[in-house]
């Protein structure tokens, strides 16, 4: 699972097939391709009515008609035999399209069957089929097609078969890998658990999920088949009874169009080929974008500028200790396709020296977005719309990229959820730790850097020989330790730990937590610990910020949160969380599910699920009320310090 989970997903169709049209319609490339394709199909189908002349007859043609330039009589001029280029062009479209579609059909059926059989049944059969496919893949297509067609009859049917029988290799590979991917998905396992047989699984589960990829690949195969046919024709191997575009070009090229300057005889048929192939390419590309939507964005895209707000000087320090990080009224939005998701709204907290603050919330509460905003690592669609992040004398929210890069890691570092890919798989772990050191402490001699890397690894319990290993050689727990070592490499003041133990076993989690705690005490770190685990929070944290739907629900010391929670969400959450010391306690749950950030309810974000909500809750968002002892609650029920 990727680190950033709060990004809005692209609009998902309400049903795969009928809902497919809407997003496809928006895809300009695909629509243009489709229109282009339809237009040429119309030309091919209605050729007899569209062509001004019949290319088969030579009636009334004399040698004076050869290579006449475009005129009113002949819009595209005449060719080497005096025939109308436009008419030849129109009829020629038929050959290209027929060969293209039928040959592709053969290839796709063969490739599809081989791919599914190989992928689904596996074992020796798969091995055999794939070896065969790979062998055929290596052997160059065109020379083989040329040889076979040259030795047999160059009829249209023959050409279709040869191109079709040699064009299945890419389809087979793609279908096989997709079949393998689908085969290992849980719903297939479920189908087996129900007792479904192989045929049922292939028809109802594998095929529907292979189909989208197959369609995209089919388009590619059709375009390749058309290119192959035109090339064959250009080399003189076309069906002599037809006049495809490739053949038109062959004759023109061979019979003096170049020297005579008859550009129309050369340009027009070629443009036809380009039109068809391009239409298919655009259509295929568009289809792929719709069926396999990738987030067309990446981490290095420039972000949106922060909306500046006045820094109100309310040095309202919650305790005596030094304030390292002061987050004030921070709001973060995601802007996407005219939709705005208000992921974080008006959140404030303070991090003091040596403090460990727990940031608690469930999916969609905005805690990861908040952390990313602090480090200015929001994705391209994210934007800080108000508030400030005071670190020392600077407001991190308004710094430029270069200024921020100076503070990252040296001042504030972050430990991500131990995803497999949080470390670069093709570089050694030691290398990646050293990189941070070299960046922020330039001029350090190589030997010193090395020693420091080993020192850091030892600090987290990894022995020196692992320094030159790659991430995939580390276990999950080790990888997380390495991330911790890396995060400490530049002696930061603040460390953000974003769900560092969520994916780990209980015992490993205990090891990591103990490590973090001892490091905190040893190095005097301040830590922001993001989690959904209320048990961990109780064990580790000094203060707690509970978030729901992007807003602060409650913010207080750990003792207060657990023993005197005032926000209904906090109370319900505690009731839903198991306590091993009270095993018979029947757990409760909160009905409903977290709000969608694009369509937030008016008023309190928790109101739809709140057991004690009343009318005001649905219309007015509660303010952040401060109870005594630095206890903040955003609930109408605690207005005027009325404690519940």
């Amino acid at each position: 699972m990727s680190i950033q989970t709060a990004e809005i997903k692209p609009t998902v169709p309400s049903s795969p097939l009928t809902g497919f049209w809407k997003p496809f319609r928006k895809n300009r490339m695909g629509v243009v391709g489709l229109l282009m394709l339809v237009s040429i199909l119309v030309v091919a189908v209605f050729a007899p009515s569209l062509a001004p002349y019949n290319p088969k007859t030579s009636k009334g043609i004399s040698s004076r008609d050869i290579y006449n330039p475009p005129s009113a009589l002949h819009w595209f001029g005449t060719d080497d035999a005096g025939k109308d280029v436009l008419s030849n062009f129109i009829y020629g479209s038929r050959v290209s399209l027929i060969v293209g579609f039928f040959a592709a059909f053969i290839s796709i059926v063969i490739g599809g069957v081989i791919g599914i059989v190989a992928g689904f049944y596996g074992g020796r059969l798969e091995n055999l089929l794939m070896r065969f496919t790979d062998t055929m893949l290596v052997i160059p297509d065109l020379p083989l097609i040329v040889v076979i067609v040259a030795l047999t009859k160059p009829s249209l049917l023959n050409i279709i078969f040869v191109i079709g029988l040699l064009g299945w290799t890419t389809t087979a590979r793609i279908v096989r890998s997709q079949t393998l991917a689908v085969k290992s998905r849980k719903f297939v396992l479920r189908a087996r658990a129900i007792g479904a047989g192989n045929m049922h699984i292939i028809l109802h589960h594998i095929l529907p999920l292979v189909l989208p990829l197959l369609v995209v690949n089919a388009i590619l195969v059709i375009s390749l088949a058309i290119l192959n046919e035109s090339t064959l024709s250009f080399l003189g191997l076309g069906d002599p009874t037809t006049a495809s575009w490739g053949q038109m070009l062959n004759f023109a090229f061979d019979r003096g169009a170049m020297s005579t300057g008859a550009w129309w005889a050369l340009a027009v048929p070629g443009l036809g080929i380009v039109w068809v192939v391009l239409s298919l390419t655009l259509l295929g590309h568009g289809l792929e974008q719709v069926l396999n939507p990738r987030l067309e964005s990446h981490h290095l895209m420039p972000g949106r500028p922060t909306v500046q707000s006045e820094v109100v000087d309310l040095s309202n320090n919650r305790s005596d200790a030094l304030v390292l990080l002061d987050v004030r009224n921070l709001s973060v939005h995601y802007v996407n396709d005219k939709q705005v998701a208000k992921a974080v709204h008006n959140v404030s907290f303070q991090l003091h020296e040596g403090e460990l603050i727990g940031l608690v919330g469930e999916s969609g509460c905005g805690k990861t977005t908040l952390m990313m905003a602090l480090m200015r690592l929001l994705p391209a669609a994210g934007q800080i719309t108000s508030g400030s992040v005071l670190y020392g004398l600077q407001d991190l929210a308004t710094l430029s990229e270069e200024e921020m890069a100076e503070i990252r890691w040296k001042g504030i570092s972050i430990i991500f959820q131990g995803a497999m890919n949080a470390l670069n798989p093709v570089r050694t772990v030691g290398d990646q730790i050293a990189e941070a050191i070299i960046k922020h402490m330039p001029g350090m001699p190589h030997g010193v850097v090395n020693a420091r890397v080993i020192e850091l690894l030892n600090l987290v319990g990894i022995t020196a020989e692992h320094k030159d290993h790659y991430p995939h050689q580390y276990s999950g727990g080790m990888r997380q330790r390495a991330m911790i070592a890396m995060a400490l490499s530049c002696n930061p003041q603040v460390v953000i730990a974003d769900e560092p133990t969520t994916a780990l076993d209980v015992m490993i989690q205990a090891q990591i937590l103990e490590l973090l705690d001892s490091l905190r005490k040893k190095l005097g770190l301040a830590i922001i610990f993001v989690t959904h685990d209320l048990g961990v929070v109780a064990e580790m944290c000094d203060s707690v910020l509970v978030m729901y739907g992007g807003v602060t629900a409650e913010y207080a010391s750990v003792d207060t949160i657990y023993n005197n929670p005032q926000h209904p969400y906090t109370q319900e959450l505690l009731k839903a969380f198991p306590d091993l010391t009270k095993p018979e306690k029947r757990l409760t749950s909160i009905p409903g599910y977290p709000p969608k950030l694009e369509a937030l309810p008016g008023g309190c974000r928790f109101a739809p699920r709140c057991p004690v909500a009343f009318e005001r809750c649905t219309t007015e968002m509660p303010k952040l009320h401060e109870l005594n002892h630095n206890h903040i609650v955003s609930c109408h029920l605690v207005e005027n310090n009325r404690v519940r």
Partner: protein
Amino acid sequence: MKRYRYLLQKIGWSAFTILFVLVLNFFIFRVLPGDPVKAGTHDPRFKKENQEAMRVRFGLDKPVINCFETLNPIKVGDCWINPFDTQFFIYLRNLIQGDLGISYHTNGPVSDILTVRLWNTVLLIGAGQILSIIVGIVFGLFAAWKARTAIDYSALITGLVAWSLPTFWLGIILLFWGSRHGFPIGGRITPGISSYPLSYQIGDIARHMILPTLTYTIVYMGEYLLIMRSSLMDVLSEDYILTAKAKGLSNFQILKDHALKNAMLPIVTIIAINLGFTVAGAIQIERVFSWPGLGGAVYEALERRDYPLLQGVFLLIAVSVVIANLIADLMYSYLDPRVQVE
């Protein structure tokens, strides 16, 4: 798996593929109608003494292979004959000795014709491939870097259009324009250039190479552009890129130290897969520009129905592609540490 085992497996597999190609080659020319080798013996262009030499060299009176007298039409024969006394093994033996047959047209050894042409094609394909890789990668990189901007969209469209152009047609158009603007109309050299000093000769070849290489580059860079773009965009969305950014590295540093190597790995695979396609391109370009290479040889063999030449060229092309694929595979294994280490 261990490195040497991986290498051995790959080499073994390539050897098998080459064998497969040899067998395929043999059987195509025997199975398909109009057994051209036999037909050659009746071809009037063929000198009598060469017909005899063919008969002896290729054992045309012997059975094709054990159990089969002839393959077209299929006539079953004796299975227990000496396998070394069949056309198939004579064919293999001749191949090992570098004998690819005698051309109908020149009445000389096919291998003589091809050796010269091989290098001409390598020169052309080599230059074209290198340029298209460089251009494609650079444009693709920029497109991904500036994702979703005008630069990205125009690069994308350029790539898609370039990919959709038929190679021979682009050559024709460029040649049409070029021949009217001072470029040579075809061939590799200007006749009579050999009397000039070497530098002139090299310059002459270079001038003749410009248009065909340009054709090559435009057509093939499209694919590299598209692959590089999507590969780099994938890499730049990976978690470790975010980690690198969190470490305070600049975008340029991240690109250089983290993204490029990973993004380039698929390119190496594509180069390998493309080798088959580049040969197809060579056949077309060499015809249009009359470049005396292997591709041109294919066309001439087709035109002149010179089957021994066709067979020899096909074999040479196929084997070269297999070997080139092997080299690309081996290179990939050196680049990706996940393959090396167990």
